[in-house]
């Protein structure tokens, strides 16, 4: 079969290091009161996986209902609750924290040669806030759900709906603070905790992407909090900020909500892009093509990302000239994404490429994100937006970017760093298969939705005209395949915790500082504070280093 770069220690003698962050302390309390960024990352990983599967089950229900044109599986009210809960859970409890709170939390300090994040207790607090948000969401579901849609459009959410809007709002409000604290922590850490020699332009691109995302988290999320508080006040005491009969303006809520929620999609995708930069480089043995371009494109996305929110409101009667400005800025934000795609592609050029699972997921990301990004331009151009917005076209676009892009990147990252986090390899063959299944299932699920959207099928519909059925059947069929693709990793990754091959320090021969220490790492990450004396992705440095070790071992 194909060549591999995997370089494992001799399995007959290799042992997982006795002392590591997992074994340092035992007992539930040692986890619940930990300040260790790695343990908090594991806590996050378990909790977001839990919510991912709840959200995924809800997605399955949606697809089942849409198998037939009539509303025969559930009542429309139930359907509305199901898609609302799916959105709330997937966005606020999975996508926003997914890569940053798990992989970012675990690896940013290690990549910059630090012992921990700058504010370990704030880090733990952010997990607790996440958990409180999560419990409130579960409470909402048990108490009967909520059916505002994840966008909480006023006045529907304030005056016309009697479900658990308040508890959902509170959940989002609290989970938002978890995100603010994570972002704040990353910014401070990246400024203050870099090891000697680690200049800004020697940072792995993963860190740049997280830095950009963190800025968005810190500056954007408070606006969401404000919007939610105003919504709550409107609902409880009727302050009338959004109520036209009291002189308020319902469009104001749209402005406030999207001022966060558009940057939020960059909060979700940027860390994923960071993962792809790491995997593509490692599995093609090459430094990332145009390091500075990739780094600054992350920052450009963060900056432009703040000034495009009104493209969610093109048909809501905002001024035509505002539409002009926001449409233009939307086109601008598409450019850095295109730059990234081409830079990753050219990283492959003259590389020495192998196709382990993280690389397969990364290829999946590149293809699907390209489609997702291009269809975003369809929606950013104001004219075509009129026809395509609020239909399945936008559902497909969003899922191509978020599921095809972000989730693929998340899985790429989980597989890539699994050996470092656990000390054991995942089984390669079956995971490659899972990656292919995911890719096929994904396309079958979401590609037909572009056609449905072009036909005009509105989103959030529990029933639809019969001529749309064939495409919906394809989509539902794809969703079942996709479900298998997501269940497989849970099974074999759990299996690998006990039976996986011992990974050793650096199974991928990767250059990041996180790979130059034991797996799983020590609580302090490094025995001695590393000194960064080379550029990021310097494979020649790595070879020299390894040659030196071999020489000294003799």
């Amino acid at each position: 079969m194909s060549a591999t770069i995997v370089n494992l220690p001799d399995q007959s003698t290799a042992r997982i290091p006795k002392v590591n962050f997992l074994t340092k302390e035992n007992g539930l309390l040692s986890w619940l009161l930990t300040g260790d960024h790695k343990r908090i990352a594991i806590l996050y990983l378990i909790s977001i996986t839990f919510f991912f599967f709840i959200g995924g089950a809800l997605a399955g229900l949606i697809r089942l209902e849409l198998l037939t044109p009539q509303t025969d599986l559930m009542a429309t009210d139930t359907y509305n609750k199901v898609f609302t809960m799916h959105g709330v859970i997937m966005i606020f409890l999975f996508l926003v924290p997914s890569v940053p709170a798990t992989l970012g939390n675990f690896f940013i300090p290690m990549m910059i040669g630090a012992k921990d994040l700058a504010l370990p207790r704030i880090n733990l607090l952010s997990w607790y806030l996440y958990v409180v948000g999560g419990i409130l969401v579960i409470y909402t579901m048990v108490a009967g759900g909520v059916d505002t849609g994840w966008t909480f459009t006023t006045p529907l959410s304030t005056h016309y709906i009697n479900t658990n809007v308040m508890s959902t709002g509170m959940a989002v409000f609290i989970a938002g603070f978890s995100s603010i604290f994570t972002g704040l922590n990353f910014i401070v850490t990246l400024h203050k905790m870099r090891c000697p020699g680690m200049t800004w332009f020697r940072l792995p691109l993963f860190c740049w992407a997280h830095y950009a995302a963190s800025i968005l988290m810190v500056l954007g999320t408070p606006v969401l909090a404000i919007a939610i508080v105003l919504l709550a006040l409107e609902r409880t005491v009727g302050i009338g900020v959004f109520d036209p009969t009291k002189g308020g303006d319902p469009l104001l809520f749209q402005h406030l909500f999207w001022f966060y929620s558009h940057p939020a999609v960059y909060i979700m995708i940027l860390p994923g892009m960071g993962v792809i930069s790491e995997t593509i480089s490692t599995f093609s043995r090459k430094r990332v093509f145009g390091y500075t371009a990739v780094a600054f494109s992350s920052v450009a996305i963060a900056v432009f990302g703040f000034f495009v929110w009104a493209h969610h409101m093109f048909i809501m009667g905002i001024s035509n000239y505002a539409v002009l400005v926001f449409s233009l800025l939307t086109m601008m934000v598409a450019v850095p994404s295109a730059i990234k795609i081409f830079n990753w592609t050219f990283t492959l050029y003259k590389g020495s490429i192998t196709f382990e699972t993280p690389m397969l997921y990364s290829f999946g990301f590149m293809g699907l994100f390209t489609i997702g990004g291009m269809t975003g331009v369809f929606l950013g151009a104001s004219g075509t937006d009129i026809h395509l917005t609020e239909t399945y076209f936008i559902v497909a676009h969003f899922h191509f970017v978020m599921v095809g892009g972000m989730l693929m990147a998340f899985l790429a990252g989980i597989h890539f760093w699994w050996p470092k986090m656990t000390g054991r390899m995942y089984p390669e063959k079956i995971s490659q298969m899972a990656a292919v299944i995911t890719f096929v299932g994904f396309n079958l699920t979401f590609f037909p939705q572009f056609i449905l959207g072009t036909l005009g099928m509105p989103r959030r519909y529990a029933s639809y005209p019969p001529e749309f059925q064939v495409l919906n059947v394809f989509s539902t069929a794809g969703a079942t395949i996709l479900g298998v693709g997501y269940l497989l990793p849970v099974l074999y990754l759990t299996w690998s915790l006990k039976y996986g091959a011992i990974a050793g320090n650096n199974p991928w021969q990767a250059t990041g500082l996180e790979w130059q220490t034991q797996s799983p790492p020590l609580t302090e990450n490094f025995l001695v504070t590393p000194i960064m004396d080379h550029e990021a992705y310097d494979y020649e440095w790595l070879e020299a280093q390894q040659a030196k070790e071999v020489a000294s071992a003799r």
Partner: protein
């Protein structure tokens, strides 16, 4: 084929006829929208093909077996500039093209026929100027620009006609407009595309496009007897608007003759164009819209007049072209039958009035 398997043949025919892949083009703007759409599809396909081709060929050429040692490359300013400028150029073309389309769709021509549409949970009510009322349906003629003035009575709705490629949100508290010119007679989908609660997916209807002759017949056969302006006139009378807005020299309110389309100076000194939206605001929220030279004495009619009622009033005021018309209305007020119990008396209760 037919000989091989009639069953399969039948299935294929059924499949092909019931399996939509692209919406019909039934308005003047639709082909223009589709031109841009297909341009974008083409650019996306080319872009995707380039990326996939590069990834696949690099993966083959530089796989570890073929190319065991990577050659390190910093980057290339030249290439970097290429894939910044070309996408930017393409995106800018799409931006300009899209913006032209957008302005066309949302700028109605002067000769457009206006139809009011009120959205409410969960139905669409259309009101033709001649007084034809429709629910979850809209009849329009071909070859005539039609402007829709939309408003919602409760939450956000969105009036979407995929076959026309137009869509506009109906928002509580303000008018929005959209226009189209239908080209092909037929029946097309009408969807509410903004999530609006329980029966969002039932808030659908039919857009019936008729030839001008058929449309005339339909108008004649569907009239409720009163035009919107006539309904508005009754409402105007019953709300005693004419008590102030009469044409007498000592009137407490400004004369409304020919006010529509004129430029007014408000007491704040602000100059304002009088359009549908302004009239609506001035009725519901008068203290904010005092014409210069008049005292702020008009009470609000918020909650007393339904959205349909406001539309009737606006339509009435639109058609006030002389003081004489107002005097006629003033006279009508005196002649209003008072609870005579006859059919005429029942009819006299204007339909737009909301009973407290």
């Amino acid at each position: 084929m037919n000989q091989i398997s009639p069953v399969l043949w039948q299935f294929l025919v059924k499949w092909m006829t019931n399996f939509a892949l692209f919406p019909p083009e039934a308005s003047k703007i639709a082909p223009q929208m589709d031109a841009l759409y297909f341009f974008m599809v083409l650019v996306s396909l080319i872009g995707l093909t380039i990326v996939v081709l590069l990834v696949v060929s690099f993966s083959i050429l530089y796989s570890k077996q073929r190319h065991p040692h990577a050659i390190q490359i910093e980057g290339s300013t030249m290439l970097e500039a290429t894939w910044t400028i070309i996408p930017l150029g393409l995106f800018l073309i799409m931006f300009v093209w899209g913006a032209l389309l957008y302005f066309r769709i949302y700028t109605p021509p002067a000769n457009a026929m206006n139809i009011y549409v009120v959205g409410k949970q969960w139905m669409w009510k259309a009101e033709h100027p001649g007084g034809q009322h429709e629910i979850n349906a809209l009849h329009v003629p071909t070859g005539q620009p039609v402007q829709l003035t939309l408003i919602s009575q409760d939450v956000f709705h969105s009036f979407s006609i995929p076959a026309f490629r137009v869509k506009r949100e109906a928002i509580p508290g303000r008018y929005t407009t959209v226009w189209f010119e239908a080209t092909t007679p037929g029946t097309y989908h009408l969807f509410c595309t903004q999530y609006c609660g329980t029966d969002h997916s039932q808030m659908i209807g039919d857009i019936v496009v008729l030839t001008p002759e058929d449309f005339k017949k339909w108008l004649a056969g569907s009239t409720s007897g009163n035009s919107l302006a006539q309904d508005g006139e009754r409402l105007f009378a019953s709300l005693s608007c004419a008590a102030c807005h009469n044409t007498r020299p000592d009137a407490r309110g400004p004369s409304l003759a020919n006010v529509y389309g004129s430029k007014l100076t408000l007491s704040t000194g602000q100059a304002i164009d009088v359009d549908d939206a302004y009239l609506r605001e001035a009725i519901l929220n008068p203290s904010q819209h005092i014409t210069q030279g008049y005292a702020p004495i008009m009470p609000t009619y918020q909650g007393q007049v339904s959205e349909e009622g406001v539309i009737d009033l606006v339509e009435y005021i639109k058609h006030l072209d002389s003081d004489y018309r107002i005097q006629q209305t003033t006279t009508t007020t005196d002649l209003l039958p008072q609870g005579t119990g006859t059919a005429a008396g029942q009819q006299a209760k204007p339909r737009g009035k909301v009973n407290p």
